[in-house]
Symmetry: C2
Subunit: 365 residues, 2 copies
């Protein structure tokens, strides 16, 4: 598998954007093979979102589960018609290489385990989808890319919004030029986190809200501009008296500067009322996506040279869309719109954001 | 006149906030003297907003004009029933000290002239209102405060949103505690500036969009938190090929960190589709003011622990409200909610923001 360049990825994304506004699923899917997915990690997201969505896919089906909780796995296997012989735990996971039903392994573990299980899955001869953040540092991302490349397996990161009609329309408007150049991105994502979550345990999460919700703000700035930032600033806040934040920050505010003249201001928090929205301005248009990063309920307000309208785009099953898109890539040996390189690019910026926050300096990329 | 402390100013603002939700104008105004206002500078703002609004005031009336264009001044004097003997130019302006009809001088000149005309007005024995930014550096702000103090005259900066019901309600929610502590402020203000404006001539403006529209974002963060930032970051963008931006930047993105745990991300631009909005999150509430910095059309979306509602607060004449509030201060020797110290506080931060942008460092206040 040849690794796509950033330009190729953007190009495939732009093509995807045009196609997605016609229909949320991939073309020619009736003639394609339905791929077997193994879900690794059966928490809220793996079970509640991915497993729930697989029956809605055109090109994917659930065939295996990997979990440390055999009872839970058995219950879910029964619910989704999965052969209980296809339940693995973390010790015997590598035996999945002998399971011809499994084409794709989807890794939905705590961030610090993404690299290990992606690499083990690739070494077992499986294509891999991995949740974001791809890993907890740049080196791990590169190892994951290398492992998939060595095994000639495809790798995609679970950036579901690259397959979501409202976000794709925003990209089209921001990059298309018909409203002039992109000038500003303003993105905000946060919520009040519960106590004792692995996401606030730095060993498992790799960092604070940036790794989990702030990455969406960074993504928005990157996919709207279609560029990589050149300079970043960041400030964090860590309360002294809140037991939720023993080894991560609670909030981060950051700015990104892009070579084409776009500035982005982003904020993320684990300690505020819920928010999931962004807006952007080109020279001649304003777009705002309320619930822009959410699983559904996204609305799109566009002001075209001051004139407002609500765009009426569908809210689709984003998980089904991203998994079907990956299956299409595997079946037809096409590059993913969200390959490992996309995850690596985010981690590069995120590490610089932590450096900026810690050093008190504007950091050049 | 004793200068109010920051705490007193905030306290008067908070009291004002409660009162303003009952009625937009000051109390007991029927019994008060109607003060004579001289408008210095008859541009779009001085003529189009302030002069137009004075007839709507309960405690103020237009009595004099100061302009370098005698024909324009005569025309406006006739329109607003001002004695043409009360038209001054910039040379004979100091003669205004002999004019007993003039109680208040309102300075609406380019930023770099604010200090000179405020000081001359105070030395002429007049109370002074001055548009924001108060001046183009901290030293000038202090000189203006000192001149008014020396002459025992009151000084207020034209921060109209401190007298605006939606913004006052936002302050009440952000600081009141009933929704928990304030965590985030996200503010954005910008538009596409016309060529050849004094606002992009640094000698007159003192800087780029921060001085003109970004100051609203800074204000929002300061009046919502009720605190002064401790650390700031900033990045600017200056296009090489746009003749509008010969000696100022076109856009700035900045972050502010406050001692109580609030982070603010702000953006301002002279090169984007128009925007004037902010939102904020406490622990338990989300508030968004669309058109939040505008002269009218402000809407307020509140989410109370997730439950959304539109607050139905009036859009008042903000200019009439701020001038009546100042007249009330003069008549009753009360401190202004927006004294010179408020303008000085903004300039202190703005100078640090330019320092942060230029040095590439997070700057401590």
């Amino acid at each position: 598998m040849s690794q796509p360049t950033r330009r190729q990825v953007l190009s495939s994304l732009a093509v995807g954007a045009a196609a997605m506004t016609l229909a949320p699923h991939v073309r020619g899917q009736d003639a394609q093979k339905k791929l077997g997915f193994a879900i690794v990690g059966l928490g809220r997201f793996g079970a509640g979102q991915l497993l729930r969505s697989l029956p809605e896919c055109k090109l994917c089906k659930p065939v295996a589960l990997v979990s440390g909780h055999p009872d839970k796995a058995k219950q879910l296997a029964d619910k989704y018609g999965i052969d209980s012989a296809n339940i693995y735990n973390y010790e015997n996971f590598d035996n999945i290489k002998n399971n011809g039903e499994v084409d794709v392994v989807y890794v939905v573990l705590p961030n610090s385990m993404h690299a290990e299980y992606t690499i083990r899955a690739a070494n077992a001869g499986k294509h891999v989808m991995c949740e974001k953040p791809m890993a907890i540092n740049v080196e791990e991302c590169q190892q994951m890319i290398d492992a998939c490349k060595k095994n000639n397996r495809k790798l995609a990161i679970g950036y579901r919004l690259h397959y979501e009609p409202n976000n794709l329309k925003a990209i089209e408007i921001a990059r298309g030029g018909q409203y002039g150049k992109l000038r500003q991105v303003v993105a905000d994502h946060g919520f009040n986190i519960s106590p004792h979550e692995w996401r606030t345990d730095k060993k498992l999460s790799g960092g604070g809200p940036l790794m989990d919700v702030g990455i969406y703000c960074l993504q928005a700035a990157r996919y709207l501009s279609g560029e990589e930032p050149t300079h970043v600033t960041a400030q964090t806040w860590t309360p002294k008296d809140d037991p939720r934040f023993k080894n991560t920050d609670a909030s981060m505010a950051f700015t990104l500067k892009f070579p084409g003249g776009t500035l982005a201001t982003c904020q993320c928090s684990y300690a505020s009322h819920g928010i999931s929205e962004y807006h952007f301005m080109t020279e001649q248009a304003y777009g705002r996506l309320d619930n822009g990063f959410a699983y559904g309920g996204i609305t799109f307000l566009l002001k075209d040279r001051g004139k407002p309208s609500m765009l009426d785009l569908p809210n689709i099953n984003q998980f089904a869309a991203e998994m079907d898109a990956f299956a299409d890539c595997v079946n037809n040996n096409k590059p993913s719109a969200t390959p490992g390189e996309e995850g690596l690019a985010d981690l590069k910026v995120m590490m610089k954001l932590y450096e900026a926050a810690e050093s008190g300096k504007t950091v050049a990329m």
